[in-house]
């Protein structure tokens, strides 16, 4: 019972925040002369529902049409996967988000309010965008074969194992380095990390834009893009390999990356909660002076956190390119994966389990908002909803006070000490 109460207590405010956020955003929908209920129905159906979903009810129980004879069968929506399930698509979108959110969490928990996830993400992405093409080409020329098709089976297998690993390591290194710079500036010179990381983000985006447009540009496509990564570097999605016949996965490029993200989540949890290093960095945030008195090198702990944070963001870039896009396109980060990760970390209150729950919801909301664009409303409605949710979520103390006013406080049990004092 106590356990249930604790869960209810920790969930109540986020749920209220979401409801209030939707309510507040509905004012904006009304201003555009559109019915909020229809809009939200569309938003959630496009985001979370099965194909052909129309109402809120369809999110759970759906009358699936039978194409052969025109009849319908009643199905449980999340498992219904004709033409590919949206939930698989959500998982695909959520994978990099989980990693960037973890990255934000690690930085926050060292007291660094770093927003550099976006810059580290694009730097990691461009690294594998380059290595995924260049490295296999080097190996082929060393082995004396023309390309993937003509390579012997053994070489292919070895490369399938090695190339992605090298790519991942390189991108994590680049991300870590890009995050180390603001960390070092903070530790040594006390440069405000918020401002420096924002500027580093802008620089990274311009740099990647330059690299994609000039040195790494592969063809005269309208939108500049790099060459497609070699098949051996590809983290092949499920729908091409093990689950090729499962319709639930069709159309979604979710793959090994999801496992990598989950393992990373577990490792980050272990690091933060169960290791000395994690304790040191949490102490640094909690009370820097106390930590230093206890013999903790706070600068080192902060730098370690920034390195891990950058590596995680770089890893997110790897998943986005090796697992999903397979090439870097100019402006590919319009959706701001890194910044979304930061928002997820704030919404999840830096809890690892919370991130795993919030990230798919966030991804679904993004998907729904993008599809909203084909209707009357721009996709920015999603951003408005999210900013309201963040605001209400951050009002926790104030909301709790209001709640206490609404629901009368339960009579407090008398303090046992007082009784004893009275008896004696």
């Amino acid at each position: 019972m106590n356990f249930l109460r604790r869960i209810l207590d920790s969930i109540s405010i986020p749920v209220i925040a979401v409801l209030l956020g939707l309510l507040a955003s509905s004012l904006f929908v009304l201003l555009a002369n559109v019915s909020p209920i229809d809009t939200y129905q569309q938003l959630f159906c496009e985001g979370f529902g099965p194909r052909g979903c129309q109402t809120f009810g369809d999110l759970f129980i759906f009358q699936a049409p039978n194409e052969d004879d025109g009849t319908t069968t009643t199905v449980f929506s999340p498992l219904y996967g004709s033409g590919g399930s949206r939930l698989a698509l959500i998982l695909e979108q959520a994978t990099p988000l989980i990693l960037t959110a973890l990255s934000a969490t690690v930085a926050f928990q060292a007291g660094m309010f770093s927003i550099g996830m976006n810059g580290q993400f694009v730097m990691g992405a461009i690294t594998v965008g380059f290595l995924g093409v260049w490295l296999p080409a080097q190996i082929y020329s060393l082995a004396g074969v023309a390309d993937y098709e003509s390579a012997p089976e053994l070489l292919r297998t070895i490369m399938h194992l090695i190339v992605p690993l090298i790519c991942i390591a390189a991108a994590m290194g680049v991300g870590a380095f890009y995050s180390w710079i603001p960390g070092y500036l903070k530790v040594r010179l006390n440069v405000n990390e918020l401002i420096s990381t924002i500027i580093f983000n802008a620089i990274a985006v311009q740099l990647v834009g330059y690299l994609v447009n000039f040195p790494l540009r592969s063809d005269q496509n309208n939108i500049a893009r790099t060459a497609r990564i070699d098949d051996t570097a590809w983290l092949i999605p499920f729908n091409r390999t093990v689950f090729a016949d499962v319709e639930w996965f069709s159309g979604a490029r979710v793959g090994v990356g999801l496992f990598i993200a989950l393992i990373a989540a577990a490792l980050v949890w272990f690091y933060l909660k169960r290791t000395t290093a994690g304790y040191e960095q949490r102490m640094t945030r909690g009370s820097s002076l106390f930590a230093r008195f206890g013999g903790i090198s706070t600068g080192k702990a902060t730098l370690r956190a920034m390195l891990i944070s950058g590596a995680l963001s770089g890893l997110a870039g790897v998943i986005a390119i090796l697992g999903v896009e397979r090439r870097v396109v100019d402006g590919f980060n319009q959706t701001q994966t890194g910044f979304d990760g930061l928002l997820i970390a704030i919404l999840a209150r830096e809890a690892i389990l919370g991130i795993l729950i919030v990230a798919p919801i966030f991804a679904g909301l993004n998907l729904g908002a993008i599809n909203l664009q084909f209707g009357d409303l721009p996709r920015q409605l999603g951003g408005i909803i999210i900013s309201f949710i963040i605001l209400f979520n951050a009002m926790e103390d104030w909301l709790r006070e209001r709640l206490r006013g609404i629901f009368k406080p339960r009579p407090r049990p008398e303090a046992p000490e007082a009784k004893e004092v009275a008896a004696s």
Partner: protein
């Protein structure tokens, strides 16, 4: 490092001054005059933005939502002109008021409801960035840019006497009203901060909240006022972006200028007049970026040129930090020296400060 600075303090200072003067002369006479004129013009959002940042941080609130407030001002200026078709100056006033209102809301959310400052700033920036695009599309049906014949840009004003002077006239005259307003604002903010009672209260709150409260200053009122003024200045900066340079609103048109403005205020040690001169250098870096983009014969990649102001910002940040660090170290050394003297006196049997 500290001993090095200690020994060569005077030569170092002279070298720094000579280098500064050389750079200034180089800039003034080596660069084309239209580039300098546009860099003075483009520094306006930095001047106003850094004033906004320093008013807030002098009152003890790190205002990180300046970017959002600027964007809001830019949007409101264009939206008001689109609806009414009045003189552009109305747009400037509307943007200033709108920025002030947003600043007030920000202050109430922070001080009354006690939302974490950084999270609040992130939420406000995110909200404004999305809401402006949302309204641009739903109310005006515009994609990406909102432009209309009814939205005119601010007219340029020729200053009566100065425009007659050959070189200076070209530099200082022929800007629009917000540019001149920003110069006036530098003086106004300086006077408010350092020559009025309210300014003293404001600085007291920023420096030591508990001490200020103990002498009866209403901290909340001071901070609310500072954030409102900060919002007004940021809104005015935004109106310059949308109807001063262009006559349209572009999706996310502040492009991080609010963040740079915060850096400017840090660089200037939160002093209005140095902030003005620092802004000029950022204006120059931006003007240079546009100027070089306008000459394809130089074969410079545009993306890297766009990063020029950002690189300047990072450079400035590091410089600021070094300056603060050195002054801290010097202060600490002075303190240690003083402390040593007092200790010596104590050893000799005298009471510290008891007189000789």
């Amino acid at each position: 490092m500290i001993s090095f600075i200690e020994t060569y303090q005077r030569p170092l200072r002279i070298v720094a001054i000579i280098a500064g003067v050389a750079v200034l002369l180089l800039i003034l006479f080596g660069l084309p005059i239209n580039l300098l004129q546009s860099s003075i013009r483009l520094s306006t959002p930095y001047v106003l933005g850094s004033l906004a940042a320093l008013v807030a941080s002098r009152a003890g609130v790190l205002n990180l939502a300046i970017d959002g407030k600027m964007l809001f001002g830019a949007f409101i200026a264009v939206a008001v002109l689109f609806h009414t078709g009045y003189d552009p100056i109305v747009g400037v006033i509307a943007a200033t008021v709108a920025g002030g209102v947003l600043g007030l809301i920000f202050a109430v959310l922070y001080l009354r409801i006690r939302i974490n400052l950084v999270i609040l700033a992130i939420a406000v920036n995110l909200f404004i960035a999305n809401a402006t695009v949302y309204f641009m599309r739903t109310l005006y049906g515009a994609f990406g840019t909102l432009a209309d014949p009814s939205i005119r840009s601010l007219p340029t004003i020729d200053l009566p006497i100065i425009s007659g002077i050959p070189y200076v006239g070209q530099l200082l005259s022929g800007h629009n009203i917000v540019v001149y307003l920003s110069w006036i604002m530098v003086a106004v903010v300086w006077i408010i901060l350092f020559r009025t009672q309210f300014g003293r209260h404001l600085r007291a709150v920023g420096e030591n909240k508990a001490a200020a409260e103990s002498v009866g200053i209403n901290i909340t009122r001071v901070q609310i006022f500072a954030l409102t003024v900060s919002g007004m200045l940021a809104g005015m900066a935004g109106s310059f972006l949308s109807i001063g340079v262009l006559s349209q609103f572009v999706d996310n048109m502040t492009d991080g200028r609010g963040w740079t403005a915060i850096t400017v205020s840090l660089f200037a040690f939160e002093q209005p007049v140095p902030a003005f001169f620092t802004s000029l250098f950022f204006g120059l870096s931006e003007a240079l970026s546009f100027y070089l983009q306008g000459r394809p014969e130089l074969q410079l990649p545009p993306d890297l040129l766009l990063a020029l102001p950002q690189l300047a910002t990072i450079f400035a940040l590091v410089l600021v930090a070094l300056r603060i660090r050195t002054s801290e170290l010097l202060k600490r050394r002075d303190f240690a020296g003083q402390f040593g003297q007092e200790l010596e006196k104590l050893r000799q049997g005298k009471l510290a400060g008891a007189g000789d």
